[in-house]
């Protein structure tokens, strides 16, 4: 069967404009949720090694909850559920300021924070306990010993799963289309609906996600290499 491909009509007005907007939307959603996930993930992982049993159990419960519930359910819960618990003024502010982007970032960020937390925790476990004791005996506080001694090594050790989860987070932003968030998959599907150029539309989406994912992995390799301490 011959397939008559026509990418030109997809990349012309008004679709091109929508694709560029979608690119920015996906970038903003990825950046916001990644930042939330990484910062929270590192903090949570640190809480697990403070020595407090209740903190350790609390974080473990959070991780179990976030990892056991599908991302789509998290998205709907935040967008249609938790959003209605806000005071009326806050709700109307959020609705007027791209509520889809805000709630999707929170839902994806919180869910992925559990994965980043576990990545960092596995890195922490790779560091011998003696280092913590040595740092503390030098007079560093717990926070300082974590900041200057333990975490730099732990994060270095956890780079491969860290990059992997960054790519997964990026791909999962496509689920936000269910909330009406005009990210890349949403816009590609709209264009497909208008033009019936199914093959071209989804090829375009495939190339986009593939290129960005490979790019993220490439950046990850570069960062890992830079962080590496030359072995003696």
């Amino acid at each position: 069967m011959a397939i008559n491909l026509n990418f030109g009509s997809l990349l012309a007005a008004p679709h091109l404009e929508h694709l560029v907007a979608a690119l920015k939307y996906t970038a903003a959603l990825t950046a916001a949720s990644w930042l939330l996930a990484v910062v929270l993930g590192v903090v949570l992982a640190t809480l697990r090694v403070t020595g407090s049993r209740s903190l350790d159990r609390g974080v473990a419960a959070w991780v179990a909850y976030q990892q056991s519930v599908p991302m789509l359910a998290h998205l709907f819960l935040w967008y249609f559920g938790i959003s209605t618990l806000l005071p009326a003024a806050a709700q109307s502010w959020v609705n007027a300021n791209n509520g889809e982007l805000i709630f999707a970032s929170i839902a994806i960020g919180l869910c992925m924070s559990a994965y980043f937390c576990e990545d960092v925790r596995s890195g922490l476990r790779a560091i011998p306990h003696g280092q913590q004791e040595a740092a503390r005996s030098l007079g560093l506080s717990f926070v300082k010993s974590m900041r200057y001694v333990i975490l730099p090594q732990a994060i270095r050790a956890s780079m491969p799963p860290f990059i992997n989860h960054t790519v997964i987070l990026f791909k999962n932003t496509s689920l936000a289309m269910a909330l009406g968030a005009a990210e890349m998959t949403y816009v590609v599907r709209e264009i497909e609906n208008q033009t019936f150029r199914t093959f071209e539309a989804y090829t375009l989406a495939t190339v986009f996600y593939l290129a960005v994912s490979l790019g993220l992995m490439g950046v990850g390799v570069l960062v890992t290499r830079r962080l590496q301490i030359p072995a003696r």
């Binding site: 959003s83 709700q91 599907r189």
Partner: protein, 272 residues
């Protein structure tokens, strides 16, 4: 005698089977059989749906079928058809008339003939009560729709600056409207009114005028049956005149139903 009876019934069977094929007159055939077979759907309240207590298919479409049959002087027979197969059921002669939520469009009009419009469906925008007065107040505002819906181009034609936010299904989009996540929601008016009715007495959603688009529904008739088509149109005209058409509308969609709709059309020729 027995043989004669068998022979005559066979003849009648042969003649009635041959009639549609031999492009004779469907009107005569229906009258000879004494029955009009209508294709109806059975899943779309209030147009055609199964009554929970009697298990009969009832509704706006069913009443129109029964009324047309009465005007032709025959009894009505219902045959439940699916939305996808309704046009083939008619063209292949398994039903005489389609009363099956059938909206007019040029592609369908190439396959079958349409009677005069017996219902006009409005595609309308609903909004929070009091927030907006007129459809065009939604210029530049967020309007919800369903992904891939034909309402999207219709809305953008009258409101080019509206920001369309598409959800996966009708209930999600309605929830977004109720929660104030969008300013309006575009849907067929009867479906919208069902959603509003489900909210109960404190519903604060209203349908804005005018609609963004209108779709005329006709009864479907096989092509090339001019006499039958005219008889159906005459029956519809008579129903309009006698007020019967209005009565059926009021019974299923009027002020005393959950739909609270006003009849803003008359039975008339659909202008393609």
């Amino acid at each position: 005698m027995k043989l004669f009876k068998l022979f005559s019934s066979l003849t009648i069977a042969a003649v009635s089977a041959a009639v549609p094929l031999a492009h004779a007159d469907q009107l005569g055939d229906v009258k000879a059989r004494g029955a009009l077979t209508c294709g109806v759907v059975s899943t779309l309240e209030p147009f055609a749906f199964q009554d929970a207590s009697t298990r009969d298919v009832v509704g706006y479409d069913v009443d129109f079928c029964r009324a047309v049959a009465k005007h032709l002087g025959v009894k009505a027979e219902l045959k439940v058809v699916s939305l996808e197969a309704r046009i083939p059921e008619l063209t292949q002669g398994r039903v005489d008339l389609l009363a099956a939520v059938l909206g007019y469009n040029p592609a369908r009009a190439e396959q079958i003939a349409f009677s005069k419009a017996y219902f006009v469906s409005n595609q309308s925008i609903a909004a929070k009560k009091g927030a907006l007065k007129h459809r065009d107040d939604l210029a530049g505002k967020r309007v919800a729709s369903i992904k891939g819906s034909s309402n999207i181009p219709l809305t953008l034609k009258v409101l080019p600056t509206a920001q369309i936010v598409s959800y996966d299904d009708a209930p999600s989009a309605f929830t977004a409207l109720v929660q104030g996540k969008v300013d309006g929601y575009v849907l067929s008016e009867s479906l919208m009114r069902r959603f509003i009715a489900k909210l109960g007495s404190d519903a604060n959603i209203e349908v804005l005028a005018p609609p963004v688009g209108r779709e005329s529904w006709g009864l479907g008739v096989r092509k090339g049956e001019a006499a039958f088509e005219k008889a159906v149109d005459d029956a519809l005209d008579a129903m309009e005149k006698s007020g019967e058409a209005q009565q059926i509308f009021d019974k299923w969609l009027g002020a005393r139903t959950i739909y609270q709709m006003r009849r803003d059309f008359k039975i008339e020729k659909i202008s393609g």
